[in-house]
Subunit: 227 residues, 2 copies
Amino acid sequence: MTHYRSAMASSTVEDYLKQILLLSAAGDELVSMGDLATALDVVPGTATTMVKALAAEGLVTHRPRYGVNLTAEGRRVALGVIRRHRLIETFLVNVLKMDWTEVHAEAELLEHAISDTVLDRLDALLGHPAADPHGDPIPTRHGKVDAQVYATLATCLLEKPLRIVRIVDQSPQFLEFAEQSGLRPGELLRVTDRNLAAGLVTVRKGPARAVTLGLAAAGHILVAPER
Amino acid sequence: MTHYRSAMASSTVEDYLKQILLLSAAGDELVSMGDLATALDVVPGTATTMVKALAAEGLVTHRPRYGVNLTAEGRRVALGVIRRHRLIETFLVNVLKMDWTEVHAEAELLEHAISDTVLDRLDALLGHPAADPHGDPIPTRHGKVDAQVYATLATCLLEKPLRIVRIVDQSPQFLEFAEQSGLRPGELLRVTDRNLAAGLVTVRKGPARAVTLGLAAAGHILVAPER
DNA sequence: CGCGTTATTTTGATTAGTCAAAATAAATCT
DNA sequence: AGATTTATTTTGACTAATCAAAATAACGCG
Ligand SMILES: [Mn+2]
Ligand SMILES: [Mn+2]
Ligand SMILES: [Mn+2]
Ligand SMILES: [Mn+2]
């Protein structure tokens, strides 16, 4: 009646590894203890302690005073967690018809509890999706993940037709704003104005509706040129 | 990024409470520390320590040296866990088409990770089932559970037509035996012979197939008179 | 009734994960 | 360069959950 997970990484360890990967932006830059601690909602000393333990397990490399990043093995584990997270989100939205603004918190917990068997069934049921409801790419079972780089509403060309491919912010507040403003993955729009000094970006969907948002927010919406 | 559950009971606490309920056979008999420890796969001293802590929290009443049972609040929590467990099993079999012999272990973990929101969606998707794939009754959202008492293949009348309503043993070994022998919930059969001295029961489905099983095993298969 | 067997409880330790606060190192600013 | 600010690490302490092994209580039998 005790529970486990393949080759045993606790959900705490899984969350640390996942967060290190996400904060290093799928790249190899060092993640600071401060950022890691904030993301995991622990005090910095806790992050330091945990990172040293992960380093001793060979899951991360730690440059004291500078930061941490993943070993190949740590990355493998992290990608597994991210795959589970994103497939679960997709299931919750596509099958259970939940709101895409609220599924992140659910997946945060379920990602540690679902077996490979169940995950594979889910993946098949969903038709092996390439991205989750936020447009986040879903790693394959073998840890391949689409690393394509996109422009954002803060950096793209003006007046060109664009399609939203991804929202890079999991907070319900931001997602609800996006939902309300019609800024969902898949939507078509163009940026009609960008004022760097004022930090404002204006976008339009068709001739009608115009939405103005701050540069930081605009930077969280990834787009690809359309047609 | 830390995780939680409504009014916070750890998965360990949830498993203790659930197991106490299951071992007291939905009744009010005291559960011994030995049985509880065995069910939870811990040493008896651990069960004692935990039960004292649960008693301090008002979730159980402990009669030292005799046993433990649930308070109303402990029972409420336990029924919630059991509801989640059984709805998850039903989902895994009915939607993901997993084998009814293997879903118990999956549910053992997922039961602690699923929110009320997701559970309600699942319940609706499944059409508010009254029982899980093993025939175990699913408590309602308000903690009502079908307490009907059934005969078993070890106690029922001979030669009467019967329908299997429930298998009271979660072990994959037993369930695979049941599956192989065609002894699934819903199946029709009759007991053609019972030898108490030898401890053997023989059942037949139609005129064809006869299966012989031991008394203990027969006692794990609950049946209702048919027609 | 007393003695041995068996179950339960207690005691002392251990591990994972955490925090508060002090110590230290690095970065930044005169 | 020296002083100040900021980030990181260390230290000491705590909680939840567990085990091994010793102590104790209840049971069951002659
Ligand atoms: Mn998580
Ligand atoms: Mn997502
Ligand atoms: Mn469980
Ligand atoms: Mn069941």
